[in-house]
């Protein structure tokens, strides 16, 4: 079974990549998200801002099916996540690139092996893996480091490898959870530029952050969360 790249028939013309309708999520009795309704269009670059505990990471987890909402509905390209069977979750994740603050690279595997992993689990051919990994590494400017192992790279390079892994199979959207949390302002700027260039190629990007340096560099839509609620949605010009 293949994750549909086009919206389902009921919503054939919807340009929405993500739609959330009255989504709530609780951990035990603590509310992580409350009645969140929002829409993100295909090709948008969205910043999810808010302090720690605002619900940014929970929202991203809901979008990759790592968590299920207690209430409400989430549609990705018109398809409801609540109707996905467990066996379909991996198919969704193959279309969504994820970048995390702590990189989550395999330390004993080379950069090439790390980046090729998403292609390998999909069953891509050797030639396809070589070609796409080379492209992804070129896009992040690290094609010359393909035989290195992550512990030998700088934090900025490790984050770029993480981004290369997230984009290697041409995802429909890229979710980044505090991607610059471990980086200094200069490296933050590099990573944001990288996201911009990926976004320019049509990939929807959602970056969850509480880093004001990121906000300063992005003239895009900003959704602010606080205590699990959407408190503002605005277009920011830096």
């Amino acid at each position: 079974m293949v994750w549909p790249l086009t919206p389902v028939r009921l919503l054939p013309l919807s340009p929405s990549m993500i739609q959330l309708f009255h989504v709530s999520k609780y951990y035990d009795r603590r509310m992580a998200l409350s009645d969140v309704t929002l829409e993100i269009q295909k090709g948008e670059f969205v910043l999810l801002m808010g302090p720690s505990g605002a619900g940014k990471s929970t929202l991203l987890k809901l979008l990759i099916g790592a968590e299920r909402p207690e209430e409400g509905q989430i549609l990705i390209q018109g398809r409801s996540l609540s109707k996905l069977r467990s066996s379909e979750i991996p198919l969704l994740r193959r279309k969504v690139g994820v970048v995390l603050q702590d990189f989550r690279l395999l330390p004993k595997k080379t950069v090439f092996d790390n980046v090729s992993l998403p292609l390998l689990v999909q069953g891509a051919s050797t030639a396809e893996i070589r070609r796409k990994v080379a492209e992804a590494l070129r896009a992040v400017g690290l094609d010359h480091k393909k035989d290195h192992v992550p512990p030998g790279l700088s934090t900025g390079e490790q984050q770029r490898i993480c981004i290369a892994r997230a984009i290697v199979n041409g995802p429909i959207m890229l979710l980044a959870d505090e991607p610059t949390g471990n980086l200094d302002p200069e490296l933050t700027s590099e990573i944001i530029d990288l996201f911009k260039s990926i976004n320019a190629r049509g990939t929807t990007i959602i970056v969850a952050t509480h880093d004001p340096n990121v906000l300063a560099q992005v003239s895009r839509r900003v959704i602010t969360l606080d205590q699990g609620r959407v408190v503002s949605q605005e277009q920011v010009c830096s």
């Binding site: 198919l91 994740r93 193959r94 994820v98 395999l106 992993l117 390998l120 069953g123 892994r165």
Partner: protein, 301 residues
């Protein structure tokens, strides 16, 4: 495409084993000794069963006849016995033949019968059983049936010996099953714990694989392969230990002169049974792995 993924999964399974080398060696050794304990019972069972079966082949049943039977009646009894599917072969021993046999076998005692005037030994049929009717239970049932035939005075066979041996084989069989089940569960637990250690040491990698869209099967296969390898190696090693112990035992028996010839009766597991035992080890290894994967969490794996 499939080959590349398979190679990756195999490479991961080997990497799992190498990462936890000490745990793997301990798990294989413990599993081997556990399987070997079950194997000792199985070996005992196989040999006693072979011995019982060889003794059952030699057992003859004597059907003694009344002295005043006419030739016609004797033939009728013979026909009736021959028609029985349990009867493999039948030989008639007349009164005269019985006396002659007695005198041949016990020449020093033959004077005891001379004092009685007439031949006191009855005519009889000597019966051996068909292969499928050689169990003690079948023999007992047949003896009761034969006893009720008109003209038959007594049916005799070495009942106690056959039944004692059959009873012992049954006890060993039950003991082997109980010990087998308990120790198999122990082996599964040992392997499950080894796999659980591997899972915990690689939990971050498992989470990453889940994040990038690896299917549950893709994540689980290396651990199932590792469990299967542990079970297979454990059972193969246990067979090697058993074979060495068996040969040592046979050598000791051979050198002890009072057990002359007993060593030739001893047999090790035939090849097909060895393969079955290795297969059982492999299966138990997979089961141990599977248990650990379930406990580790459906969400993560």
């Amino acid at each position: 495409m499939f080959v590349r993924r398979l190679l990756y999964l195999l490479r991961e399974a080997v990497a799992n084993v190498l990462t936890n080398r000490t745990t793997t060696v301990v798990a294989v050794a413990t599993t081997a000794f556990t399987f070997a304990c079950v194997g000792v019972f199985l070996l005992l069972y196989v040999n006693l069963r072979a011995l019982a079966s060889s003794l059952e082949q030699d057992i003859e049943v004597m059907v003694y006849l009344q002295d005043d039977l006419t030739e016609q009646m004797r033939r009728e009894i013979e026909q009736q016995l021959k028609a029985d599917r349990a009867v493999g072969s039948l030989t008639f021993v007349s009164k005269e033949r019985a006396l002659a046999d007695f005198q041949t076998q016990f020449p020093s005692e033959s004077h005891l019968l001379q004092g009685l005037g007439q031949n006191p030994l009855p005519a009889s049929f000597v019966i051996t059983f068909a292969v499928e009717s050689r169990s003690s239970e079948a023999m007992r049932r047949w003896a009761t049936r034969a006893q009720s035939i008109s003209g038959v005075t007594q049916v005799q066979y070495n009942q106690e010996w056959v039944e004692a041996l059959a009873g012992m084989v049954r006890y060993i069989e039950v003991a082997a099953i109980i010990v087998g089940v308990i120790l198999s569960a122990a082996s599964v637990t040992i392997i499950a714990n080894t796999i659980r250690l591997a899972l915990y040491s690689r939990r971050e990698e498992i989470e990453i694989l889940g994040l990038i869209g690896a299917s549950t099967t893709f994540i689980r296969v290396p651990y199932l392969l590792e469990g299967a390898a542990l079970g297979l190696l454990g059972s193969a090693l246990s067979l090697a230990i058993l074979k060495a112990g068996f040969e040592l035992f046979r050598h000791e028996i051979r050198s002890a002169s009072r057990f002359l010839g007993v060593d030739t009766l001893l047999t090790f597991f035939p090849l097909d049974m060895c393969l079955v035992l290795v297969g059982v080890g492999l299966f138990l290894g997979c089961a141990g792995s599977f248990l650990s994967l379930l406990r580790f969490g459906e969400g993560r794996v």
